[in-house]
């Protein structure tokens, strides 16, 4: 039988009532708190018994303290007089336990208790929530701006949607935490003034649990939606990098506390580690990504040099080739196909082009958008037309080809074939460096739309 176990606990920092009640329940089940943590709490097995727990806040304490402060030691001495023993601390929060049936509570004056909770929250909880909220708001703002500039790119990218969703959830979580705390404080002060009672705190445990479950599902769906092996690798690498940074920072904090380092030394080393590791690890990851070869993921790639620059030539299979549309003897094409997928759209991009410097070959490219929900189709079509239509104001011409709506974005423009094809839940942006004939358009429609 296990003697210790770890549990992820989702308590708000100020939830003294909830924490005490939970620990008392755990004691009745035979688990005593051994060490509380930021997320993981450790319990040790004992005989099930009734224990009383209480949470006290000392604003002068810090998560960087290697040992109990003078203030904490004084409080412990006071509490020991009434049979209360400190069993753990997290930052400004100190947890006490008493084996008596009906001990004198540690806090008996509601106003004093509310005051010490608020003083502790002002040190850590409130500033950290505000910083996180601002960080999330700025990041969300930047992602939304990027979305406004290129909405199709975001809608067809699981990464883009996951990023926006994550920042939205962070904002929701921090706003909820701050709102709930200040609402409790307002009501607690009113109750204390009216009849001297302490209004029990309530946590956002359910919301926090939901948040973590949603976050986990988001990450899983992000991974599942990644269509390319390289994208899956990048997601896994990014998560590994984040885990590495967290492990490094927590490891340094743990080591400093174990060695008895002073609070300020620990604080500087922890923040320094976070900054250095972030730059180093992310820098190495970016460097690694730039050197990441598609060949590692099973893609056939060759290279050639032209005027001192190295170019890559791909040999991916495409649904439609230049040779399907026109006679050509050129045979040194690069054919590249990539798929991006999200819950809303799938975007398959194909590009066939001749080598730089060569003559005789033609360029053909297409983006095939498959929308999951019908209402998106017309929006995607309009977005493509607005983005790629002639900036001089020339109006596209629309005509049907085999039941498919074709919009010619550059009608009459020599050497510029750009078309938007729309049918059922598929929209295709087709571009070529020549004007497609009716027959060629019909072939393209057959291959890209109707099959």
């Amino acid at each position: 039988m296990r003697e210790t176990k770890r549990r992820m606990e989702f308590f708000s920092m100020y939830d003294c009532t909830g924490i005490a009640a939970h620990l008392e329940k755990m004691a009745l089940k035979g688990w005593a708190l051994e060490k509380p943590g930021t997320f993981l709490w450790r319990y040790r097995r004992m005989e099930p018994k009734k224990l009383r727990y209480a949470v006290v806040y000392l604003p002068g304490s810090s998560e960087f303290d290697a040992a109990p402060t003078e203030e904490n030691q004084d409080l412990q001495a006071f509490c020991a007089e009434a049979g209360w023993v400190q069993v753990g601390s997290v930052a400004q929060m100190h947890i006490f336990c008493n084996e008596s049936e009906d001990p004198v509570p540690i806090e008996t004056d509601a106003m004093v208790q509310i005051g010490s909770i608020h003083a502790a929250m002002k040190r850590n909880f409130i500033p950290s929530q505000i910083v996180l909220l601002l960080l999330a708001a700025v990041n969300l703002g930047m992602r939304l701006w990027e979305f406004s500039v290129n909405p199709l790119k975001y809608l067809s990218s699981a990464s883009g949607q996951v990023t926006i969703s994550c920042w939205l959830m962070v904002i929701a979580l921090t706003v909820t935490e701050l709102f709930c705390y200040f609402r409790w404080r307002r009501r607690a002060l009113a109750a204390a003034r009216e009849d001297g009672t302490f209004l029990p705190t309530r946590s956002t445990r359910i919301f926090q649990r939901l948040y973590f479950i949603l976050l986990g599902l988001l990450v899983l769906s992000w991974f599942a939606l990644a269509a390319e092996p390289r994208e899956k690798f990048l997601i896994a690498a990014m998560l590994a990098v984040l885990a590495l940074i967290f492990a490094g920072v927590f490891g340094v904090k743990h080591l400093c506390k174990k060695l008895g380092a002073g609070r300020n030394v620990t604080r500087i080393l922890v923040f320094g580690t976070a900054v250095v590791m972030s730059f180093a690890v992310i820098g190495a990851a970016v460097f690694g990504v730039l050197r990441l070869s598609d060949e590692w993921f099973g893609r056939e790639v060759e290279t050639y040099d032209y005027q001192g620059i190295t170019f890559e030539v791909y040999h991916d299979e495409l649904p439609l080739y230049v040779e399907d549309l026109t006679d050509t003897s050129y045979d040194r094409y690069s054919t590249y196909m990539v798929t991006q997928r999200s819950l809303l759209l799938t975007n398959r991009s194909g590009l066939q082009r001749p080598r730089v410097g060569d003559t005789g070959g033609a360029m053909l490219g297409y983006n095939i958008y498959d929308v999951r929900f019908g209402f998106l189709r017309n929006w995607v079509r309009q977005e493509l037309i607005d983005t790629y239509a002639d900036v001089s104001g020339r109006r596209p011409t629309d005509f049907p080809v085999k039941g498919v709506l074709v919009s010619d974005l550059y009608p009459g423009e020599e050497g510029m074939g750009m078309y938007v094809l729309t049918w059922k839940n598929r929209v295709v942006l087709l571009s070529a460096d020549w004007n497609l004939t009716d027959e060629q358009l019909a072939t393209a429609v057959d291959t890209l739309m109707l099959q």
């Binding site: 004084d74 006071f78 008996t108």
Partner: protein, 106 residues
């Protein structure tokens, strides 16, 4: 305009200050308050600890001795005045009660 701190004292604050009319160890206050009120008023160790800090910061008590973690305190002049003021405030309320109930009885 914000209320002056300790302009009115709770019963627990009043009892703690009463104990500190004579030099007294902070840790003994819990028992003293319980005894002098026949168990009616219970002051927790956290409350005593916090209030002693606040009374000290407000200049109402001063530390007299320190033996390890056992620190003794006593009221200052200012603290004595505050206690007096609170006593008079409570007396005024008692008198008001007596007067009003007597008038009603008549």
């Amino acid at each position: 305009m914000p209320r002056e701190k300790f302009s009115a004292l709770t019963e627990q604050m009043f009892c703690i200050l009463l104990c500190l009319r004579r030099e007294c160890c902070g840790m003994d206050i819990m028992d003293m308050v319980s005894k002098m009120t026949d168990g009616r008023v219970r002051v927790g160790p956290g409350t005593v600890y916090n209030l002693l800090e606040q009374f000290q910061d407000a200049g109402m008590i001063r530390q007299t001795r320190s033996e390890g973690r056992r620190r003794s305190y006593i009221l200052t002049e200012f603290g004595t005045e505050k206690l007096e003021t609170e006593y008079r405030r409570l007396q005024t309320q008692v008198e008001l009660y007596r007067r009003m109930t007597k008038e009603e009885a008549l």
